[in-house]
Every structure is written in structure tokens, then in C-alpha cells.
């Protein structure tokens, strides 16, 4: 097999950038929830400020992809790999935005006691963060089985979301003064649910890169 040193080298640089961005996003999910559960306003402000870093990485990766397409003119599997990365960095960037939004809720709660201890929301956040990491790992390692497994795991997140919904609505039914916090917690859970959806998009990109289609089952 003839080597393709230049092409492989540039692809590995872009892949490394993708991993770096994934690391930042995964951390943002965990820290956003940490700021919320620990009512840590300073941490929340950091998350809001650091989102720019994620945005910049997205731009820089897209720029590298563009230059790669222009100079290397990849085809078939290589082309699909690049198209997928361009799509995935968008998804990761959106996840970053959701984390920023969650951090903003922390600030809104700054001077309020929580009406209940947060249990399911951190669990949901942990699941979503793992999904994002595993989705990218599956892509980078070309692991179809893992991609499909993570894609499936979204059902559990949805299930948890429904439980949270039922619980919060039940609490409002009992005591209408809890409506304000309930709605905010529900919004936070909805952000996490979206994050898990983005992880499934990433899984779909892995299947697309490897198989050329979007058949997940």
C-alpha cells in the first residue's frame, strides 16, 4: 500500500483537535451541574466565560477541515470522515451552549434555597457527559458497536427525563409555590436531554463515516 503521509498527518491533527474539544465539552457538562448542585456562582461564571474557548475550537477545526478539503480533496471514506467532523464540531458547540444555559440557571438561584435535593438531574448529566465522550471515542476508534450502544442509551436519558417531569409536576400539584423552581429544574433537565440527543447525532455520524448510511439498528 502506498503511504499517504501528508493526508494521514493532517487527518490526525484534526482528530486530535476534535478530542480536545470533546474534553472541554465533557468537562463543561460536569462543571455546569456541579455549579448548580453546589450553588457555586463563580464556577458558573467561569463556564459562561469559557464557552468562547469551545466556540473558537469549533471555528479552528472547521477551518482546518476546509483547508483539508481544498488541498487534499479527500474521497469516499476520507470525505465522509471530514464531513462528519464538520457536523460533529457543530453538535459539540451546541452542547457547550446548553452548558452555558445551565450555568445561567445557577446564577438565577443564587439567593434561593432549593426546594429539594437534586438527585436525578446530576444523574442525567453524568449519563449525558458519558454519552458524549463515548460517542466521540466510537468515532475516533471506528467502533460501530459502541456507536450503536451509545445511540441506544438515549432511551434511558429520555426515561429519566420523563421521571423528572412527573416528579416536578407532582410537587407543583401539591404546592403551587414550587412552580417557579420546578419549571427551572425542568428546563435544566430539558437542556440535558438535548445534550444526549446531540450525542446520538454524533453516533449517527460514526455510522455514516463507516458505512455510508444512517442505519442505526
Amino acid at each position: 500500500m502506498a503511504a499517504r503521509p501528508q493526508m494521514d498527518h493532517e487527518m490526525s491533527i484534526i482528530t486530535n483537535d476534535l478530542l480536545e474539544m470533546t474534553g472541554l465539552v465533557e468537562e463543561a457538562i460536569r462543571l455546569a451541574i456541579k455549579s448548580l448542585t453546589e450553588k457555586d456562582s463563580e464556577l458558573a461564571r467561569n463556564i459562561i466565560n469559557n464557552d468562547e474557548e469551545i466556540d473558537d475550537l469549533e471555528d479552528s477545526i472547521k477551518d482546518k477541515c476546509l483547508k483539508f478539503l481544498a488541498t487534499q480533496q479527500p474521497l469516499a471514506g476520507d470525505l465522509r470522515y471530514m464531513i462528519s467532523i464538520m457536523q460533529m464540531v457543530r453538535d459539540l458547540e451546541r452542547i457547550g451552549d446548553h452548558c452555558e444555559d445551565i450555568a445561567k440557571y445557577t446564577l438565577r438561584f443564587e439567593n434561593e434555597e432549593y426546594m429539594k435535593q437534586l438527585i436525578d438531574i446530576p444523574r442525567m448529566a453524568e449519563m449525558a457527559a458519558k454519552m458524549v465522550k463515548n460517542a466521540i471515542d466510537a468515532f475516533v476508534n471506528r467502533d460501530l458497536r459502541l456507536a450503536r450502544k451509545v445511540w441506544k442509551a438515549d432511551e434511558e436519558v429520555d426515561e429519566l427525563f420523563r421521571n423528572i417531569y412527573d416528579e416536578l409536576m407532582g410537587m407543583v400539584d401539591q404546592d403551587a409555590s414550587r412552580a417557579n423552581q420546578s419549571v427551572m429544574f425542568l428546563f435544566i433537565a430539558a437542556h440535558l436531554e438535548r445534550i444526549a440527543d446531540y450525542a446520538t447525532n454524533i453516533c449517527e455520524e460514526t455510522v455514516f463515516t463507516m458505512e455510508g448510511n444512517y442505519e442505526m439498528e
Partner: protein, 251 residues
């Protein structure tokens, strides 16, 4: 979609060396079909079987069937002269005759019996316009063709090919000796020509095959590995060997 060539179980031997193996393929009318594959895989050989140019080579043996407009071109009574008129060829290196531009174009029609001066004039103008060369050369029609640039010479060769009113144009790496500007002129031309003609083009330039062709056929070691719509071949080929070749992993 009209099938122009139907190729079935085609084998070709140069002496004892088998250069084409069990080739089955359809070539569609008014479409551009690109042939790709590593050097020595049999692309040029295959192209030449379509107008029986291989007949001129010593020791060639051909088996199988090639039908052109549903007629077996290797059949006993098939008129080869007529075949070569209908199936023209353009080569890698522009090869105009060492004559004037005008004479290059009227050469074919004259051989086929056209004598009328005004008809010949008309053919010259018509074909040069078809290859977008008329404006560039109309004032020097009686100057030597070899004085033209490489890209102009290649367009002249295409015009010469068109002058005998073929139905099919076979092109063997027609732009490999040309710069990007001349190349893109020829590529632009191909698209227009496909409205009237069927084109089969050999190219080593994957991007070119992607840009100009409707169908692409991948050859390897004398076999056709895969033929499909060009967009499929270059985005998601079915065969691993095709993928490895077009992504530069071998060849």
C-alpha cells in the same frame, strides 16, 4: 436510458498475456463514462476494443461480445470502417497532422468522400465552434496546426474527431498533458458534447472523473471491479478495493 455498448464476457489476450478478463459492462448513450484504475490495468486496451483499434496490434486475441447499437461489432460482416467513423478517438497527447488547421478538420470528411468546398468550409466552422476554438483560430485556418498551444491542439483534435459526425467519442487521458485552464475548457466542452455524443474517457485524475462523468468504472488487473453512478463511486463505493484506490491507499 439507451444502451450504446453492451459488453459481455470480454477477454483480450496479447499473445499469452491476458489483459482483459471477463468484462461485463453497459455504456449508456449521451452519458459520460469514466474509466479509472492503476497503470497497466487495461483501460486503454478496453477503450480500443470499442472501435476495434486492437485489431491493428499483432497477436491480439479477443473473446466475448461487444454490441454497439445492438449489433455485434466483432461479428463476421460488421463494417469496421463504418464503426471507426461512428466511434472516434482522442488521445493523450494532442496529435494534429503536420498540416494546416483547416486540413486537419477536413481530412476525415474527405476520406469519407466529401468534396464540396462549401460543405467542407461549413464543417470546419461548425466543429471549431463546437469545441469553442473558432474565435481563437478563425483568422489562421490555413496556418500550421502545430503552431497552436497544447490545449488548442487538443481541442482541434476533438474537432477533427467531430468532423466525421461520430456517435461516440473515446478519450484516452485527453487532458493529462494540459494545464488547468486548458483542462477546464475541455472539461466544460465534454458536458456540452454529451448532449449529442456518448463519451468514454480514461483519466488518472479522480477529481476530473468526479467532475465530468455520469458513470465511473474501476478497473484492476484486467477486471472491472465496480461500475456505478460517479457520485456513488466517489462518495460511497461498494467495493473495498475501489475505496482503497480512490483514496490513494494503493496504486
Amino acid at each position: 436510458m439507451e444502451t450504446k455498448f453492451e459488453i459481455e464476457k470480454l477477454n483480450l489476450y496479447y499473445g499469452t498475456f491476458q489483459a482483459l478478463k471477463e468484462i461485463d459492462m453497459s455504456i449508456y448513450g449521451n452519458k459520460i463514462t469514466a474509466l479509472i484504475g492503476p497503470s497497466g490495468c487495461g483501460k486503454s486496451t478496453f477503450l480500443r476494443t470499442l472501435n476495434r483499434m486492437n485489431d491493428l496490434i499483432q497477436g491480439v486475441k479477443i473473446e466475448g461480445m461487444i454490441k454497439f447499437d445492438r449489433e455485434d461489432i466483432y461479428g463476421k460482416d460488421y463494417d469496421i470502417i463504418e464503426l471507426r467513423k461512428k466511434v472516434g478517438m482522442v488521445f493523450q497527447k494532442p496529435n494534429p497532422f503536420p498540416k494546416t488547421i483547416y486540413e486537419n478538420i477536413v481530412y476525415g470528411p474527405k476520406i469519407h468522400g466529401e468534396k464540396d468546398k462549401s460543405t467542407l468550409d461549413h464543417i470546419v466552422e461548425q466543429t471549431l465552434k463546437e469545441v469553442a476554438l473558432w474565435e481563437e483560430v478563425k483568422d489562421r485556418l490555413h496556418k500550421p496546426a502545430l503552431g497552436l498551444s497544447g490545449g488548442q491542439q487538443q481541442r482541434l483534435c476533438i474537432a477533427r474527431c467531430l468532423a466525421v459526425e461520430p456517435e461516440v467519442i473515446l478519450m484516452d487521458e485527453p487532458t493529462s498533458a494540459l494545464d488547468p485552464v486548458a483542462t477546464s475548457k475541455i472539461e466544460g466542452l465534454l458536458e456540452e458534447l454529451a448532449e449529442k455524443y456518448t463519451i468514454v474517457i480514461v483519466t488518472h485524475n479522480m477529481q476530473q472523473a468526479g467532475r465530468v462523468s455520469d458513470y465511473t468504472s474501476f478497473f484492476l488487473n484486467g477486471k472491472v471491479i465496480e461500475t456505478d453512478k460517479t457520485e456513488v463511486i466517489f462518495s460511497n463505493p461498494a467495493n473495498k478495493k475501489t475505496e482503497d484506490y480512490i483514496t490513494g491507499r494503493f496504486g
